[in-house]
Amino acid sequence: MKSFTYERATSPAEAAASITRVPGAKFIAGGTNLLDLMKLQVETPTHLVDVNGLALDTIEPTEEGGLRIGALVRNTDLAADMRVRRSYAVLSRALLSGASGQLRNKATTAGNLLQRTRCPYFYDTAQPCNKRQPGSGCSAIGGISRQLAVVGASEACIATHPGDMAVAMRVLDAHVETVNGEGVTRTIPIAAFHRNPGDTPQIETSLQPGELITAVTIPKPVAGTHIYRKVRDRASYAFALVSVAAVIQRDGSGRVAIGGVAPKPWRDEAAEAELPKGAKAVTDRLFADARPTDDNAYKLKLTERALGAVLTEARA
């Protein structure tokens, strides 16, 4: 690990100002992803701003009837909140399907959104990777791509967003609240938060340098059957090959977002409108522009079947 200086932030705006002031500085919250990457020197911050002392760890009702989830609310606490379990079950289920008990106790709501891809070439500093070292090339294209993206990727990068929570947040139409070093706040819809790679895969979100996430809000509860179905190589503690976050109505309509297939949670409202016609109608549309590799083309059929299982479960 490269050496770094360290400070404990005293306010969100000051934390953001510190990041802007020091080249190579980064926020640290749970640290479960950042420290992993620092040990491998994939991440080499010169200065860490510890935001854990900021009072951003509560879940409060909003005026609109939804919830404002503090950026530092731990994954365990968000999943266990009775309001989330009762009215946003897809979110609770997504969180509980991710990582391990130890990691969920530490990982935060904001950090979960910002976690980096688990593409093996991003992790291997001996290999070219446009996300880690812009312009060096993509080793995954033509390499081992079984877990990587089938849609939304580019010639520069086929990495996936690895998270589960973000997929549920996408289906719930969450918003991300931020503050910058000047104290200016703004709200970003989750659909506009994660970016497709294009030719700048190193830029993964619409956050500006130094912008700090302070909360994630979810609108008032969406009625219907909430389901999160995750398909993975083992029954627990593994990243999704494909996951489906859905809220399904009695008439078969609903919302659906897919994880594990793209650089961001993959949702398309036009594809979603096909839900009453069944899973194949939805995935045909959702993957109309898919460009799978030989190794990961299975994800197209797997998504259709996982969604089919979700629709069957919703009808039961």
Partner: protein
């Protein structure tokens, strides 16, 4: 103050090399440039209570909680398996919650209360979970065992506290101490000897006594 000779040597050497950087931590905005140019270790003080004993340690900011406890406090019960949060051998209970101590910096735990395997029991006065692991052969080589036991105790507390898991049929129902629940919740602790079924037996016995 922590005992052995090699530790004192380490601390002297580190402090000699890093005295300039210690200033950088105290007033970061003025002194970054100097500490970056030196590109040497940056030191910071942290106070921790480990197994009931308060410690104040000078540490390189890069030191994980695991390394602070093993290398500086010489409590070597918690193990470094993968050092990437994948195996669970380093599991400690910090402020009442189990975490991977390899994936957190010691400086992030100023004022925290840490429990390691050494704080749970000792020969002749074993924690019920330690006794149950022995009774049920919940280990072979023993390397993962300190993490398994810390995690096992925390899992039973999590079930009692009503925290749901992935295998819950009904998210709003009270969780129970079933084999499925224990297996799911222990998935962050790997045992390459494969003592899993005996670990489940040990935990089930302790859970049964508590229920």
């Amino acid at each position: 103050m922590h005992g052995t000779e090699d530790l004192e040597l380490n601390r002297r050497d580190l402090m000699a090399g890093a005295s300039a950087c210690a200033v950088a931590v105290a007033c970061p905005s003025a002194a970054w440039a100097a500490s970056r140019d030196a590109s040497g270790p940056v030191m910071s003080k942290v106070s921790l209570t480990v197994n009931g004993t308060a410690h104040e340690i000078d540490l390189d900011t890069r030191t994980t909680l695991l390394d602070a406890v093993r290398e500086h406090l010489h409590l070597t019960g918690a193990k470094k398996g993968c050092d990437h949060g994948q195996c669970g051998a380093c599991t400690m209970i910090v402020d009442g919650r189990r975490i991977n101590s390899c994936l957190t910096l010691a400086v992030m735990h100023q004022g925290d209360t840490v429990t390691t395997i050494e704080g749970l029991g000792k020969p002749g006065e074993l924690h019920p979970m330690q006794a149950a692991f022995i009774k049920h052969d919940g280990y072979q080589c023993g390397f993962c065992t300190p993490g398994q036991i810390c995690s096992g105790i925390a899992v039973l507390d999590e079930i009692k506290a009503g925290i749901p898991s992935h295998v819950a049929a009904d998210l709003t129902a009270t969780a129970s101490f079933t084999t499925d629940e224990i297996r799911e919740r222990m998935s962050g602790n790997i045992c390459r000897c494969g003592a899993y079924s005996n670990i489940v037996d040990a935990m089930s016995e302790v859970a049964g006594r508590q229920a």
